[in-house]
């Protein structure tokens, strides 16, 4: 319709209060551009983005029969949507609008060159007019959203997010790589600052999520591939063989009692042992054991089969094979969590793994736990004796340019909690907390710190030790400078607890590669905006929950999981997404099918397809295309063009600017 019409452009120059008007002569600019062919009306106004400013555009569209609008004001990132909506209200296609940035690109950077700034502003507006002449109406496509979500990671973040989505009435598939859901929180004995039992608050949620009619659990399962885009992801999962038939197993545990072979327990972080057929932990969900072929005598030597012999329901199946599961989902939540920084390798000066009595905070949690390897008795790993003097070192690997630059955000309060564990289990023990700064920022954390400061036998040392050494008799000792007393203190602790920094769980790296979502410099997932869009990723329809985005304590993790779930629910309740119209489009007559564009596409949006006549051409998935324009720039034949930014339009601008 527009193509046959005479082009009638309205140009509006914004003062932006004094932001533009104090440098650029806006009256002169409006007067100059009014002489440009096709410009029907050119005006200047104090605040174009205000309601009266927008009304000028709407009224002019009607009165002057405008079919293109140019606004010269701030950055399009600021107000392009505002003016597009105004143009739409005026009855035009919103993409028949062009914006010239004469604030960030002109008045703000040329404060002292007013005459030249005015000239530049006029040129920028003229270039925008040149492009506006060639604008074509664009259309936003609607893509239906499959009302089913995938949650990757079955820790507290994944469980909470799954429950929220499921409770809203949508189907959820929860994937966990370990045999049981629960994640790191299942390892904790108590949670700060209230000291409530971690299992007591976590297990009800684990059971609830496993029994929820809308949730399908996929434990001991990895994500192999994800294709597609927001609304329509095609997911491939690989279920590892448990060698136990889940439909027959009742979780009685007879097989475990009968199994004669042992191995270090992953869940107990190597502090305890498990059998070759084992539950991840006693409260595992689902309560179905798994056989570890590496330690199972039947898999290694071909004999034994004790578990099979004694299983009352004949659930053992040594012939189970990995199973591929395919799913179609509309949205994905990443909740892969964290693992501890490898201080054994990275910081040998602290002697972790070299000295038995140097342990991590998470290992202490297992020693304190009633279901842990010592049934809740705090003992030294070296000789099983009760430690009477314990040193807790904060910031191990964290806030360190050579290791992890960031603060782990829970080490301080965890260290304080660990000191409480020691004195509550061993009342006559002495605890030394070596700290740099105590950061108790969460709700109730400072009050908790105050409560722990009251203990006479918990001493705070403001200083970090440089190295932990061993005496000839095997006892550990280290020097630490205490700034509070201005003394070097030599400590000879029976047990050293390292509050280590954290890194993203290794599975995240693979998932990020599959999804091509942005990763920050620390290896954690990069959110779309650190303040305003903390749960979204660079991939539409993929959301973040918990420590995958950065270090988080449990309250923050649960809050973010809820936020991610509500984003998924919003997407699914609406039922469709609108694509951005500035996508790449391929002129199939020009495309030679050379395929140069395909590997360049950072969003995996281009595929090569054969047409009916046998000709190979590039095809753009507009659901995935982000309109970056790389394919259009690389295409040797000009077949790939970015809508709204095609070669003709850009060259018209360049010609105007260089005239």
């Amino acid at each position: 319709m527009v193509e046959d019409e005479e082009v009638r452009i309205g140009v509006y120059i914004c003062h932006c209060g004094l932001n533009i008007a104090s440098v650029v002569d806006v009256k002169k600019a409006a007067e100059e551009v009014s002489k440009v062919p096709n410009v029907v009306v050119a005006k200047d106004y104090q605040f174009m983005c205000s309601q009266p400013g927008q009304n000028i555009i709407i009224e002019d569209i009607k009165q002057h029969r405008l079919n293109r609008v140019v606004v010269a004001a701030c950055s399009p990132r600021m107000h392009e949507p505002t003016f597009q909506k105004a143009v739409e209200r005026g009855g035009l296609n919103p993409y028949l609008f062009e914006m010239a940035n004469i604030r960030e690109h002109c008045s703000w950077v040329h404060e002292k060159e007013k005459v030249a700034a005015t000239e530049k502003a006029i040129k920028l507006v003229k270039a925008a007019i040149a492009k506006a002449r060639l604008l074509k109406p664009l259309k936003r496509e609607k893509v239906n959203v499959i009302p089913r979500a995938l949650v990757i990671g079955g820790g507290i973040a994944g469980i909470r997010a799954s429950l929220d989505i499921a409770n809203a009435g949508f189907e959820v598939h929860l994937v966990e790589t370990r045999p049981s859901i629960g994640g790191n929180m299942a390892r904790l004995d108590k949670t700060f600052p209230t000291l409530d039992c971690s299992q007591c608050i976590l297990t009800p949620l684990m059971v609830e999520v496993s029994r929820h009619p809308n949730v399908t659990l996929h434990t001991y399962t990895d994500v192999v591939n994800i294709d597609g885009s927001v609304g329509n992801f095609k997911v491939k999962l690989l279920k590892k063989p448990r060698y136990v038939d889940e439909s027959k197993c009742t979780g009685c545990g007879t097989c475990i009692t009968k199994c004669p072979w042992t191995a270090p327990s992953e869940f107990e972080l190597g502090l305890g042992k498990r059998k070759a057929i084992y539950f991840e932990f006693p409260q595992a969900v689902p309560l179905i054991p798994v056989i570890d072929p590496e330690h199972c005598m039947y898999f290694q030597k071909g004999t034994c089969r004790a578990c099979e012999k004694f299983c009352p329901t004949k659930a053992i199946d040594f012939n189970q094979k990995p199973e591929e599961i395919e799913l179609e989902v509309g949205a994905i939540i990443l909740a892969t969590g964290y693992s501890l920084y490898d201080v054994a390798k990275a910081m040998p000066e602290y002697g972790y793994r070299k000295y038995k009595d140097v342990i991590t905070g998470l290992e202490l949690e297992r020693l304190v736990s009633a279901t842990g390897p010592t049934k809740g008795h705090i003992v030294r790993p070296s000789d099983g004796k009760e430690p009477k003097k314990v040193a807790i070192i904060l910031c191990v690997g964290s806030r360190d340019e050579k290791h992890l630059r960031f603060c782990c955000r829970f080490g301080c309060v965890a260290g304080i909690k660990h000191a409480y564990y020691i004195v509550s289990h061993i009342p006559d023990a002495e605890v030394y907390i070596c700290y740099r700064d105590i950061r108790t920022f969460g709700k109730g954390y400072e009050e908790f710190y105050e409560r722990i400061r009251n203990y006479e036998n918990i001493k705070f040392i403001r200083g970090s030790p440089m190295e932990i050494l061993q005496d000839a008799d095997g006892s550990l000792y280290f020097d630490v400078f205490d700034a509070n007393t201005n003394r070097i203190v030599t400590l000879r602790p029976d047990l050293v607890v390292l509050e280590t920094g954290i890194v993203p769980h290794p599975t995240f790296k693979e998932v990020a590669k599959i999804l091509k979502c942005a990763v920050g410099p620390d290896g954690f997932a990069l959110e779309l905006h650190p303040k305003l869009r903390p749960t979204e990723t660079s991939v539409d329809g993929v959301f973040l929950a918990g420590a995958v985005q950065g270090p988080k304590d449990i309250p923050d993790t649960v809050a973010q999981a809820g936020a991610a779930a509500s984003s998924v629910i919003a997407l699914m309740s609406k039922g469709y997404v609108e694509t951005i119209p500035y996508v790449s489009s391929i002129n199939e007559d020009l495309c030679s099918g050379c395929g140069i564009c395909q590997p360049l596409c950072a969003y995996d949006a281009i595929s090569l397809v054969k047409k009916e006549d046998g000709k190979q051409v590039a095809k753009v998935d507009i659901g995935k295309c982000k309109g970056c324009g790389v394919c259009a720039a690389a295409c040797p034949s000009g077949a790939a063009q970015q809508l709204g930014f095609n070669d003709e339009q850009i060259l018209a601008m360049v010609r105007t600017l260089t005239r």
Binding site: R399, G463, S464, P465, M466, F481, A483
Partner: protein, 176 residues
Amino acid sequence: MLFYLIGGWIFTFKFSLEDAVKELRPQLCYQCMKCSSGCTAAKVVNNYRPHEIVALVKAGYSDELINSDVIWACSVCLKCVEYCPQRVSPFEVVMALRNESIARGRVPPKSFVEMAKSVLKVGHIQEPMYIMSKDFEEVSRMELGLPEMPKPKDFEKFKQHVLLVGFEKLKEVIRV
């Protein structure tokens, strides 16, 4: 480490305090005290605290340090360089303070002067046959069963090189 040690020495003799503040960024120090906890010299010299020196430089009290004997206590073990979580390097801050002190013509403590003289005389910080105790008593290496220490092959050339890396100012100050 060896490379660092050699590079560090050459580097530090000509390193000014101004450069140290600019390049070593002592302002990044957040006082974790790791350097003072593990410092070899701090264990024997009571008032030598690398973190405190960094803090004083950061706060603008460099003059106080330049005129004090405390900066001469560092034994160049480089542990603070190795373990500083903010790459501040208290060692190099101390070296810059020493250079500044020499540049202003201040004579270092006796033990250090003796070492410098010995380097120019025999190529070592002390007579190779003897080990000097903390109280400046000489103990024979032979008595301790230690082998003789190798000396520079071409002593004149060695001396020239030492002067080249900025030793001449020190030589002037201690009047060798």
